[in-house]
């Protein structure tokens, strides 16, 4: 499978990248680690005329933990999981990044790339010939959404692991274009639409992820996948809570892989504020999340079962935040311990 022809440009600064992107944003794409874009180009899912390679921009690879944490969009997932400050301060982010793909792919893939990861679908992530045989789908070259043929929007699934974890931790992102800079809450970057899943304009570059100081916060990430060693999520839960002793002051729960965007569960935050995590409260919050999750038949596993797993993933996440020893449960889920080569 060969790459289609494309023009390659390698800027040294974000400013150059932004001005080159502005020349023709509709048919230019940004290349960071390449683990998402390159397979998509080979399968002709994404066919940019111009590719702007970002790896030469040093500013995008900075990881700064002086005031809160600023993670350059080009920081690789390996750099992130090897960073002790990330591991100790933002456990949920560490757990999510450590469960993305494999060590080889994490050496290449970046945090910005995972945040912008193309939505995925059984009918989309296929070779050109396979897609041609079904007359393509709405997301690329076709008109019908084969997941639900009456759907007027694409139902491809958001498959980023890092984004739910970052949203639970209150992350903001910076977008830079030739017209200026804007910061927004990470949740605001997403829309529940498999095709237009990012609110990022085509002329904008995601440059930085900012996390606030995590004083008092605990966070966790639970992921269900076919192979515990290497797979996209089919359901996931990120939870973060700020504690005063045993009592929660504020909390956020974000679901992954059950919609076309990471799904915030606002009812969970309301229900958890001011409370102590009892088993009954955990069950009620798990029900809130279950009610909101809307997995579609667009990835691995049966969708009704996927929806049911959200309840137990939320319960596991909250029990871990409470301080329960969940190591055995994690091994049962993934069939191996969560560890990385440091």
């Amino acid at each position: 499978m060969r790459l289609p022809s494309y023009r390659y440009r390698a800027p040294k600064t974000v400013e150059d990248a932004a001005s080159w992107l502005a020349e023709s944003p509709g048919d230019t794409m940004l290349l960071a680690g390449g683990t998402d874009l390159i397979p998509n180009m080979k399968r002709r899912q994404q066919v940019p005329a111009t590719v702007i390679g970002l790896r030469g921009i040093a500013a995008l690879s900075r990881l700064d933990t002086r005031e809160g944490t600023d993670i350059g969009a080009g920081v690789t997932l390996t750099t992130l999981v090897r960073d002790e400050r990330i591991r100790s301060k933002y456990q949920g982010l560490w757990q999510s990044a450590a469960q993305i793909a494999t060590p080889l792919l994490r050496n290449m893939g970046t945090i910005g790339g995972n945040i912008c990861l193309d939505t995925r679908c059984t009918y989309y992530d296929q070779s050109f010939e396979w897609r041609q045989a079904i007359n393509f789908c709405m997301k690329k070259d076709g008109e019908t959404c084969w997941v639900a043929t009456s759907s007027d929007r694409c139902l491809a699934v958001s498959s980023t692991d890092a984004a739910p974890a970052l949203m639970a931790l209150g992350a903001t992102v910076r977008l830079v274009s030739a017209l200026g800079t804007r910061d927004l809450a990470l949740g605001g970057l997403y829309a529940n639409d498999g095709m237009s899943y990012l609110t990022r304009r085509p002329d904008e570059i995601l440059t930085t992820v900012h996390l606030p100081e995590p004083a008092g916060w605990r966070s966790t990430y639970w992921k269900l996948r076919r192979r515990g060693s290497f797979d996209f999520p089919v359901a996931s839960v990120a939870a973060a809570a700020r504690f005063d002793g045993d009592r929660i002051i504020e909390a956020r729960i974000v679901l992954g892989a059950v919609a076309s965007c990471p799904l915030d569960v606002p009812a969970a935050g309301t229900r958890l504020a001011g409370q102590v995590l009892t088993d009954d409260l955990i069950a009620a919050v798990a029900d809130d999340a279950y009610a909101l999750a809307k997995p579609m038949d667009n990835t691995d596993f049966e969708l009704v079962w996927r929806k049911k797993t959200v309840r137990s993933l939320v319960a596991s996440a909250l029990r871990e935040l409470r301080g329960d020893d969940m190591r055995e449960a994690r091994v049962r889920l993934a069939r191996h311990p969560l560890l990385v080569v440091s």
């Binding site: 080979k42 793909a101 191996h336």
Partner: protein, 167 residues
């Protein structure tokens, strides 16, 4: 227009005039005749094409040729020094860790990268480090055994990038 690619391959300067749309994997196999690195899934899912780039194991099927300019690449051919196999290669041969052999080059590269960072990994850590390399023949036990055996094998040879060598 062709791309003039100047980089280091297995410790020696290399120059090639390549089709700019090629991946590093295609350049290695087709322009430099280094066919030890294998074409597997071509989509970053199998690990057969792993090579070291600046000391880090990457999937060469996902690296565009433009981004190899000036970098140092080590392929499975580069693990052998002066005709002597790397201890990992010796252990793979001794313990039958290679059956059809297609996944072996990628696994050797991933295992070398692991031992360069962590000379005494646990079995779980070896399993994690090789989790991106699929083998459809051996069932992995012999592969894990061979990497474990290489940990204690004396005379660890260095790959020609100058980064290798331990124990």
């Amino acid at each position: 227009m062709k791309l003039r690619l100047t980089f280091t391959v297995n410790g020696e300067p290399a120059e090639a005039l390549v089709d700019p749309d090629k991946t590093l994997l295609e350049v290695l196999r087709e322009d430099l005749q280094l066919t030890g690195t294998k074409h597997g899934c071509e989509l970053g899912e199998c690990g057969a094409c792993a090579v070291l780039v600046d000391g880090q194991p990457l999937l060469s099927c996902l690296v565009v040729s433009h981004e190899c300019q000036g970098r140092s690449v080590v392929t499975v051919e580069g693990l052998t020094v002066d005709g002597r196999l790397h201890p990992l290669q010796e252990c793979f041969a001794d313990l039958g860790a290679s059956q059809c052999g297609y996944c072996t080059p990628g696994i050797l590269i991933a295992a070398k990268a692991l031992l360069d960072r962590e000379p005494h990994p646990t079995r779980d850590l070896i399993r994690e480090a090789l989790s991106g390399n699929l083998c459809r023949c051996t069932g992995y036990q012999q592969i894990l055994d061979a990497v474990e055996a290489a940990i204690v094998r004396p005379g660890h040879a260095s790959a020609r990038d100058g980064r290798g060598g331990q124990s």
